[in-house]
Amino acid sequence: MLRIEVDMFSGRPNPVWMITEEEAARKLLGAAREMRAAVTKTGAGYNGLGFREVRVENILDDVRAPRGLPQKFAVGPTGKENLDAAGELARLLIETMPLRSEVRLVEHAVTPLDEKLRETALEWMQVTARLMRKPPGPPPPPPPPSNPLITTIPDSKCSQCQYEVSQYNPAFWNNPATQPYNNCYNYARNWRTNTFAQPGRAHGAGTSIMACNTVTAAAMADGLKKRCNCLPQSEYPRRLMALVIAPGYDYHWYRHQRGGFWGHKPGSTAARNYDSNGVLITDPQTCARGPYTNFCDFFYAGKSVVIN
C-alpha cells in the first residue's frame, strides 16, 4: 500500500490518497525504478510556492520496496537535468488521484479529492517546470557595505523609496584645501571635485540660464532623478537633494543629513546646516533663503551621478 501526497499547498493540507491495490502500487514503483533520475529525497527540489513534489511512501512493514528505491521518496524537479523524467513520473502519480477516495483521511475534510484538484495539481506542475526552465536572472545586488556614518531611511514623501543620510561633517569641507574650490552642488551631491562643479557640465549640458527648468535639465543630465523615482539599492549611497533658484542670477542646492536636518554650502563659503536667519534647516522649502526665492524640486542622486 502506498501513500501519495502532492506537496503543492502552503496553507491547507496537501492532497493525499492511498493506493491500496497491490498491482497498481507495483506498477507505479516499477515506473519509478525505470525513471530513477526523477526520484529524489523528499524536500530536495524546488521549495517555492506551488507544486514542489509528489511524495511516495510505502506504509506496510512487510512489503519490500523494489531494488534501488527507498521506502519513502519524492518525485519532482531538482534542476533542468531531471525536469522531463520528473514531470512524466509525477504526472503518472497525480493521475492516480481518486476522484472520490475509498480511504478517508483527515486531510480530506479540508482538501477533498476531486477532478478539479487533480487538474490543478497537473497545471501547477507545469508552472513549476516552466519556472525551472527559465534561465536564472541576474544575481541580486550585494548588500551595501556597512558604514557607521550612513543610514538608509524610507522617504517620508514616498515610502516605497529609500535613500541614505550621512552624519553631518562640515570639517571635511571647511578647510583651505577644499572650501574655496567646492560649492553647493559639490556638497549636496557629496563629491569633492575641487572644480566648483556645475550642473550638467560633466555631460556637456551646462546652462547659463538660471531658472528651475534649465538647471533641473542640466542636473538630470548628470544623472539626478526626480524624487519618488526610486533608485535601486545598487545606487547606494543615494542622496536626497533640493534645488532652489535666485531667478535670473544663480541656483543653490541642499542635502538631507542624518538627524532630520539639511546641510548646504553657499558658494566658496563654509558648509553649514542653518539658514540665512541662523535657524537649523529642517525644510528647504520653508527656510530663509535670501534671494533664492524659487523652490524647484527634490531629487535623488545615486552613486552613478557624475559631476564636474
Binding site: N183, C184, Y185, F196, Q198, P199, M210, V215, A246, G248, Y249, D250, Y251, H252, W253, H264, K265, P266, G267, S268, T269, R272, Y274, D275, S276, R289, G290, P291, Y292
Partner: protein, 107 residues
Amino acid sequence: MRVELDVFSGRPNPVWQLDAQAAAALVALHDVLAAGTAWEAPPALGYRGFLYTIRSDGCRAYHGAVRTAQTILADPGYSIERFLIARLPHDWIGLVPMIEGMLRPRE
C-alpha cells in the same frame, strides 16, 4: 587689482580687475576709513560683500564695514561698496538692484 563680488552659491562669483587708476582710487577710499567695531556677518545666501587685497591684506567690504585679518574699518557711507558697484563689469549689471537692496542703513 583683483576684485570678487561674493554673491553666488552655485555659479562662480564675478571676478574682475580694476585698472591702475581705479585701484588707486579704491586704496585712497580704503585708507581714510576709521577703525570701527561693528561687523555684521554676511548671510549664507545672496550678497556677501566685495573681496579685494590691499598691501597683501585680504579685505571684505560688506554692509558699511570692511573687515581685514587684523581689523574692522567703519564705512558708514558705503563708499567702498558703492565704488565697486559702479565698476561692476557689464555682464553683471543685472546684480546691482539686488545688491543695492541689501545696502540698507544699519538699524
